[in-house]
């Protein structure tokens, strides 16, 4: 099996099969970060796709010193943050249809409530804090990996996580104390 750097060397020479292997290897990672951050499947797919296309277009400038994975995370992270900063609220003329499917079991309903509460809490965070929380608590990155992916210092990561947690705790208090 070829390493990431060997595959990127092939991509530099225009090898689409090598690019396909890289995408298959890391599509879940890119997708997970984008989905956790944006909360919308189609937007997450657009951002994840754009990240791979940018990597493909910039393959000539890729340097293998820090590895492909941190590089991919950096690209995805920046695209996610840019996406949120550029996004304007969309106004629907039609209200969404009421879900009148059969009622769920109590446990399932509680789980759905929890997921909605977490999603709402995360959406309230400003972009940098949101990304730090996603990478640290959803993806399990170490603090230094978060700093590398976001292109900020470890101290800035500490501050972002501290402030993010302070905002999340009161909203999620009910589930944290269970």
């Amino acid at each position: 099996m070829l390493t990431d750097n060997e595959l990127m060397d092939s991509v530099k020479r225009g090898d689409f099969d090598a690019f396909d292997q890289l995408v298959l290897r890391y599509q879940n990672s890119a997708w997970n970060i984008a989905y956790r951050f944006l909360g919308d499947a189609s937007e997450a797919e657009d951002v994840a796709q754009e990240a791979f296309l940018r990597i493909f277009a910039g393959a000539g400038r890729y340097q293998s010193t820090s590895g492909f994975q941190p590089y991919l995370y950096t690209v995805v992270t920046r695209l996610c943050i840019d996406h949120v900063r550029k996004k304007r609220p969309t106004y629907c003329k039609k209200l969404p249809a009421v879900n009148d499917s059969k009622p769920l079991a109590v446990e399932q309903e509680a789980k759905q409530e929890m997921e909605k509460a977490i999603r709402r809490a995360i959406d309230l965070l400003p972009p940098k804090q949101r990304m730090a929380v996603v990478l640290r608590y959803f993806e399990g990155f170490r603090s230094r990996q978060v700093a590398l992916a976001m292109g900020i210092s470890p101290k800035a990561v500490e501050r972002a996580l501290y402030r993010g947690r302070k905002k999340l705790e009161p909203i999620l208090k009910h589930w944290l104390e269970k």
């Binding site: 994840a48 796709q49 929890m114 990561v157 996580l161 705790e169 944290l176």
Partner: protein, 169 residues
């Protein structure tokens, strides 16, 4: 160490990214401070809560679509730089009316810039010529050029001739 300082470092402490000395200081503090210990418990609870939520899987044909898009991009603009390809993708995402509006704005901006630039050039050129004329003709510099245009035999001419002779010219 103060509590606020400890709490900002709890993430690094949990992920094992602190130096050994700092790790020991934080541990010692947590043994004696209930508030910071509770903050640590909440942090671990947040982490555990978030980990319970799986993300839906990526679509089955995601890789196929990405590679197809890369092929399209490469075939349309084989020599394009990354920036050009990005701009092309951006432009192709705009509606026809937005593209027309962008072109109109660009043309208007260029026209205004050209007109203003031409006026500035004209003004600058005129002043430069005027200044050059003044410096070549010293009598014009002092506003006395009207005197040198007097007819032969006029009082002005006589005066200038006399003053010129008196000064040994």
């Amino acid at each position: 160490m103060r509590c606020k300082s400890i709490r900002t470092k709890l993430d690094m402490y949990c992920s094992g990214d602190t130096e050994p000395d700092l790790h020991t200081k934080i541990e010692n503090h947590l043994r004696t401070c209930e508030n910071c210990s509770q903050t640590l418990r909440h942090q671990k609870a947040i982490e555990a809560l978030f980990r319970q939520l799986p993300a839906p899987p990526v679509t089955a044909d995601f890789a196929k679509r990405v590679v197809a898009a890369a092929r399209r991009q490469a075939s349309l603009y084989p020599q394009a730089t990354e920036k050009t390809q990005y701009l092309v993708r951006l432009a192709s995402g705009l509606s026809v009316s937005m593209r027309v509006a962008a072109v109109v704005l660009l043309a208007a901006g260029m026209t205004i810039g050209f007109v203003m630039g031409r006026d500035t050039w004209w003004r600058t050129t005129t002043e430069t010529v005027g200044n050059a004329q003044i410096t070549q003709d010293s009598s014009a510099a002092y506003g006395l050029d009207c005197l040198t245009e007097g007819a032969n035999g006029s009082l002005v001419r006589t005066y200038l001739t006399l003053t010129f002779e008196q000064n040994g010219g």
